[in-house]
Amino acid sequence: MIELLPLFIAIPLGGAFLITLTAWKLRRLADILGVCAGLPLLVLALLCIGKQGVYHVGAFLAPLGINLVLDGFSVLLLVIVNVIGFMALLYSISYMEQYTAKYKYYALFLLMVGGMNGVVLTGDMFNLFVFLEIASIASYALVAFGCEHEELEASFKYLVLGSIGSTFILLGVAVLYGLTGFLNMASIAQAVASMEKTWLLSFASVLFLVGFGIKAALVPFHPWLPDAHPSAPAPISAMLSGVLIKALGVYAITRVVFNVLGATPLFGIIIMVLGVLSMTIGVFLAVGQWDFKRLLAYHSISQMGYVVLGIGLGMFIIANNGPTLVAGMAIFGGIFHLANHAVFKSLLFLCSGSVEYQTGTRQLKSLGGLQEKMPVTGTTCTIASLSIAGIPPFNGFWSKLIIVIATVLAAFVFPGMLILTAITILVSFVTLISFLKVLRYVFLGELPSLFKQIKDSPFFMGISLVMLSLLCIGMGLLLIPGLRSVVFDPAVEALKQGLDYGKQILTGF
């Protein structure tokens, strides 16, 4: 299994190459090749669940060569990226019919998936930067795919902020290399564990925080997201909101802070503050929106706040030598919400895409009564809305519940944490209000006479909507101890071990 790890990067890159080479004349061939590249990735990712290991590229051993590391946290992200990627590919078959140059779309899409797979697998800082840039550049181009006024403007904004972020990350990597003499994450972790803490190390952490913070669209660094995510074609919005900000932003910062630089109390507080700011500001900006996709984009900022809050709380408790059980629970809540958000937010973006595909508009005020004309889209959108708002049987409820319980338990040791509990519940409530507004204006109410003739989503779009909504309903089952110990516990353990990560990678699992 470990020998197959390079395929996660090779298949999408090779697929992108083949598509640009062969499919420029035959439209169907691009569809077939795209899905043919997505399916094996999905199967491989699912086969990876529960596995761990290190692959040495070119058989060069750790400090010299680049290694691909498969541990609990990487597996989780790998599964999310490839599941959502495959669903978005299926959806694109019908949705992208409205655009010309479909083969270029598939090529860029696969480049983006390849870059994200690389980011979550790599065990080398500079290699992380390279894959991050592959995924980012592909996403800049995909945001501008329609080449209309708004798309170009959003893409330029995204490109400028994104490259500033990447440059900060590269500078951070350079500082870290100058400080320790290594690029391999495991070796850096060991060097950092044994060296004195200097201001240069804090400088590198700040550079990483800003760089990855821009990629993750945490609140002071968020202005590109509400423009870029709605402007892209719907499957790309789903990929950007569903996985890109997680793989490039949250995954990378979590990995670097926990396993490479080491968790400190100050860093835990900073990350928690960023999380709380994202949660509240994102949700209050979202309530006032009348553009369907823009509203969803603001909710992405807010929901990423939950993820970052959970992870930051865990980091704070670990760094203060608090109860590790509570820390584990906070981290578990964070990454469980990360997985859930990937599913329901991509489903919501795909639903908004279906609505736009059939009606040609995404202004909430000019829509209405679509439930009877588009039953599949309406039902799946309702499921996703209830999930994101945290209504019991759906997945979003469970992860929010775990984060809330973790904050309450943390309050026994650190009394100030109760305010976090209050904020999480308040934000969840505002989210519910905002999604009731969406359902009320899009799917209920009176059908405008303009839309008497519309039909439901085409087959391939419908099928990916239904599969994602089944995931929304079913993911609560992952809480059952047997399943949790396979999927989430290795991920939590991988983060909780902190700088011991290096020892484990260098000596083998």
Binding site: F126, V130, E133, I137, Y140, A141, A144, C147, E148, H149, E150, L152, E153, A154, S155, F156, L159, V160, S163, I164, S166, T167, L170, L171, A174, Y177, G178, L183, P226, D227, S231, L285, G288, Q289, D291, R294
Partner: protein, 120 residues
């Protein structure tokens, strides 16, 4: 001395990218940031206490004195990193300029403050 200058160059680039209104100037600002980081990476390769004039290229020839080599040769790894980083920077700049051209075709101006269709 040279490291703070390098950082100053980085800040100049950042300032240019964040405050200029002409899209082309913003792209130039991004490029300046890139070059500052590349310069920083190359400078990292020099051994402590060796002046720039004394430093050697990291190439071992039959006549090379190895002791001297270990003391004076620069670290070749950052140079390899810089090559990669330059190529990535080229890709980003090319894409940015392509978007600028399209923006000019749509809006008829390079002024970013006149491109304001997205709000909220």
């Amino acid at each position: 001395m040279i490291f703070p200058l390098c950082f100053a160059l980085f800040v100049v680039g950042l300032y240019c990218a964040l405050t200029k209104r002409n899209v082309i100037k913003i792209v130039i600002g991004l490029a300046i940031m890139e070059y500052a980081v590349n310069l920083f990476l190359v400078l990292l390769g020099y051994k402590k206490g060796i002046t720039l004039a004394d430093a050697q290229a990291p190439i071992i020839e039959p006549v090379t004195n190895l002791d001297d080599f270990f003391m004076k040769a620069v670290d070749p790894l950052p140079q390899a990193l810089v090559l990669t980083s330059i190529v990535i920077g080229l890709g980003v700049t090319a894409l940015a300029i392509a978007i600028c051209i399209r923006l000019y075709q749509r809006y008829g101006t390079f002024d970013i403050s006149e491109m304001r269709r997205l709000k909220g």
